[in-house]
Symmetry: C2
């Protein structure tokens, strides 16, 4: 684990402005993380600003802390990195995990829902999770109050994965600490943020993307219109995963999001058998079902260098409104490798932010 390439990989990931796309591009361009980390200061200078590069000591401390906590780091492309997640857009370059890695090999389904769930909803989520776990499915959720917590408890015996917004050692909300500890022992806790990170608002949508990305499908149990659970379901749909929802009375605001999903084509779920039926063709061949490009392989090739005029042309096309990279290539009439190189420079320089769907915006 503590070899120089792993240390260099983690330094890249923990450096300022290095997102998942840039991480993959740098590895491709320089052939190794060790070579990329050496080149990083020069690249960032071209982008226009100084870049804070994570030091070797810093990431060695992180690795030691994770290991001391009983956890480990999974780099994308490594043996245990979850296969389905690797096929998602913006798969995290590294995950910090604690618990039973074997759960990542089994078919998994997400159960998410309202934090202010009703008693009936909590009971339903717990029984649904228990039934799915009994059928050898791993239940993935986000350790939030309400439905998430009920789903984890219901599946704790059979197998559950808890994806958290902060670092591996940070429980949020605080009352989830006991559940998180138990999942770390009997299930698997997964974190994208570095060890010790307190979760911030922007980390929760990323947590939701990982939940959707880890699973063959997402079941929403109680969710209002415009709730976070619905966003998770829509991310799952966009990734080609199954979307399922538990209906409720139209008079119950907590059911309106679920009912809306069903109107949009989500499968109506009444019990664990309905979920298993919906995912029937999925189990065992999770990779084969999705014809999405492998995000790890699909990063565009970079040019060796982009000149000043290319920089100026690309920057002129950027605005705070996210724009597809394809569009920038078309409008600039530059080779895509040149555009990719400029975008990398700008991102490292802190002048560019990447959005879902291969879109970029000026900061």
């Amino acid at each position: 684990m503590n070899d120089s390439e792993s240390v260099a990989k983690l330094r890249l990931i923990r450096s300022e402005n290095v997102g998942p796309v840039t991480y993959r591009q740098l590895l491709q361009r320089f052939g190794s993380a060790v070579a990329a980390i050496d080149a990083l200061p020069d690249l960032a200078r071209r982008g226009g600003r100084n870049l804070r590069i994570a030091s070797a000591a810093e990431v060695e401390d992180e690795i030691a802390a994770v290991t001391g906590f009983g956890g480990q780091l999974l780099f994308i492309g490594s043996e245990h990195y979850p296969h389905l997640l690797a096929h998602s857009e913006a798969a995290p370059p590294v995950l910090t995990v604690k618990g039973d890695l074997g759960l990542l090999e089994r078919p998994a389904v997400a159960i998410v829902g309202a934090r202010n769930a009703s008693g009936a909803g909590i009971r339903f989520a717990r029984e649904l999770a228990s039934g799915l776990a009994a059928a050898e499915m791993v239940v993935v959720s986000g350790l939030a109050r309400g439905i998430d917590t009920a789903a984890h408890w219901g599946a704790l015996e059979g197998g559950t994965i808890g994806v958290i917004a902060g670092g591996l050692d940070v429980a949020y909300p605080p009352e989830a600490a006991d559940l998180q500890a138990q999942i770390g022992e009997r299930g698997l806790v997964v974190a994208e943020q570095p060890f010790g990170t307190e979760p911030q608002a922007r980390h929760f949508p990323r947590r939701n993307r990982i939940i959707a990305g880890l699973t063959a499908g997402t079941v929403v149990v109680e969710g209002a219109l415009k709730s976070g659970s619905l966003i998770t379901a829509r991310i799952a749909a966009e990734a080609g995963r199954e979307v399922m929802a538990v209906p409720g009375s139209p008079l119950d605001p907590r059911a309106q999001g679920c009912n809306q999903l069903i109107r949009e084509g989500a499968t109506l779920i009444q019990n664990a058998a309905d979920v298993i039926e919906a995912l029937g063709s999925f189990n065992g061949e999770v990779g084969a079902r999705f014809a999405v490009a492998d995000a790890h392989d699909a990063a565009p090739q970079l040019a060796l260098e982009a000149d000043e005029s290319a920089h100026a042309a690309v920057q002129a096309l950027l605005s705070p409104t996210p724009c597809p990279i394809d569009e920038i290539v078309r409008q600039s009439a530059l080779p895509s490798a040149i555009v990719a190189t400029v975008l990398l420079d700008l991102e490292l320089g802190g002048l560019l932010v990447r959005h879902a769907g291969g879109r970029v915006a000026a900061v």
Copy 2:
């Protein structure tokens, strides 16, 4: 109304063993009801048994009673007979109605559901019906306890049709008497059974068929698995009408039928707007949307007579298990007009019963 052809039509309909198919075949074969009623005794004798033929006095009494009650008779093929219902399989040859015939010209939707409905379900049905009536849709239901009653009250101002299982003057359940009287004044009451008939168990499925047949679609509000409301919904689906259902918690047995319908493809309904959207393409051109054969025109031609050997061949193929007439034609290798004639004889003779889907069985 009291002309000799109308009297003869009603005599045919009210005679023993004359169902909707036979009625149409007899009118086709003999050109008029007056001629058919004259031929009926001979035909029945060929079928094997004596047939009780309704007398002129008997049906003149019925017409007088209906008229005295403020009602009237609508024969299939006449101006006011509801167009959509005429396109349903086994459309009743005559309806007894009381109230506003103009309602039969407007787009209509059925709202049906559990008799033992919850308070929330009753409130929902009433508000849904009220919203639909406000949008100029006629709400059709069956005057049963629970959802039906709530739907009628909700739509009473805007327009509602109550289809009853017994005669026009008979209220069932007894507490529906006030509602039925009000619908007779401000809406429209429709009955298939003769004036004065107490409803029997076998009349309720026929009532449900009329509800489905009169409407562009059926909304089920609360219904258990295997409930009558689900049967109405399935009849609507078979007739190419829209099927809609209001979801509920899987923990509520009264929602399980609705949830099942949604799983099978029914549109999930949360409010009147959802119903109007689902029926959007239907309004105004109710006839054009369905490519089903016009049941009134599609009765098979009859042969002038079928000989003994044809009778024997067809009878040998009949059993108490309903069999498609097409199959009997194929297996007997007889012309379809001959088979139709034998079946007519057997039905009039009380030896044959017709089932939905053009199937027949031995009695």
